[in-house]
């Protein structure tokens, strides 16, 4: 009974910076949000933060020629894609950190070979500086060029869970099945949030 009560109350934290503001004499906390963005997806269509308004989504950073962790991440992301195929509240978003090479037609070929479709799973490309900035400042992950790294880029294998209010609610290691199991549990919690 006690356990059940505890589980019912479980909520996910809101990650990132927060600031307290005083509004009409009342203290209020403002949480960090994913800012506005606009990029091209695998169908050469614009994808922006507005497409994710009122949606829960899982984001990650990858590149199509990545020889190291991306295949593992994509294997796990594919699990989410298949599991939530009919859940319209949930979407997936992968940012390329090698956008000069990953032009929309390259992303298209990749998406086709992975048997995935937009807008359920958008693979996006755009100005490198913007993608890196968004990754580092808003999604709180490492994403940058590094000539010493296999493939030429260093990035974390993180999956970032964003809620309907654009708050980051969890960061998971997308290369590990166990961690993604945990992510799925957290998605279930978010789906129940109003």
């Amino acid at each position: 009974m006690l356990l059940a009560a505890c589980q019912e109350k479980k909520t996910l934290p809101i990650l990132g910076n927060k600031e307290t503001i005083i509004k009409q004499g009342k203290a209020d906390t403002l949480y960090q949000q994913i800012p506005a963005f606009q990029f091209l997806n695998q169908d050469s269509s614009w994808v922006s933060d507005r497409d994710y308004a009122g949606k829960i989504y899982v984001a990650d950073f990858f590149f199509t020629s990545c020889p190291t962790i991306c295949p593992k991440m994509k294997t796990q992301m594919l699990r989410l894609y298949e599991r939530y195929a009919n859940e319209n509240q949930l979407a997936l978003l992968s940012f390329s950190i090698d956008p000069d090479f990953d032009q929309p037609h390259v992303l298209k070929a990749y998406a086709d070979r992975l048997h995935i479709k937009s807008p359920k799973w958008n693979l996006v490309t755009g100005a490198k500086a913007k993608i890196y900035e968004l990754g580092q400042k808003s999604f709180m992950v490492t994403a940058q060029e590094d000539k010493n790294e296999a493939g030429g880029f260093v990035h974390s294998g993180a999956f970032i869970l964003v809620d309907k209010q654009k708050h980051v609610r969890g960061i998971y290691d997308g290369t590990k099945e166990q961690e993604v199991n945990h992510l799925i549990e957290d998605i279930e919690l978010l789906l129940k949030e109003k």
Partner: protein
């Protein structure tokens, strides 16, 4: 008089037999070491894409298990692909896979020998060792 040489002969045959079986098992132990080492190398360098069970990933990365690869390619060709990657499309089970496979430049001939021994054992239905010397030779003669 006649019985003694035949008895000796029998002993000799028996000795050879014993020597041979112990020899074979020694080789088998050596091969098993290759398989185990090869499995660890596979987990480190290959599994990300080709998956633990060798099933590949959709049309992106070709499977290694249950494929015609083992009939169509010989070990020397596979050695070169592991080390140098695969730039052109490759046909696996009559399906073309176009994603470029990066090479594994850091792998030594011994690593390649072990990986191939593991692959053949697990999915090639071919329990033969791919010896170090063969791997060296194969890598020297890659196209």
């Amino acid at each position: 008089m006649k019985q003694i040489p035949s008895f000796l002969g029998l002993m000799a045959i028996l000795a050879v037999c014993i020597a041979q079986t112990s020899c074979q098992s020694k080789e088998e132990i050596f091969r098993q070491q290759y398989v185990v080492e090869g499995m660890m190398q596979y987990e480190k360098h290959c599994e990300n894409c080709h998956q633990k069970d060798g099933s590949g990933l959709k049309d992106l990365y070709p499977p290694l298990a249950k494929t015609d690869l083992w009939k169509r390619l010989n070990a020397n060709q596979i050695a070169c692909i592991i080390k140098n990657g695969q730039k052109e499309a490759i046909l696996v089970n009559q399906k073309p896979y176009q994603n470029y496979m990066p090479g594994n430049a850091k792998l030594e001939a011994l690593d390649v020998a072990e990986i191939i021994t593991y692959l053949r054992d697990k999915w090639g239905n071919d329990p033969r060792i791919f010896p170090l010397d063969s791997a060296r030779l194969a890598l020297k003669n890659c196209p």
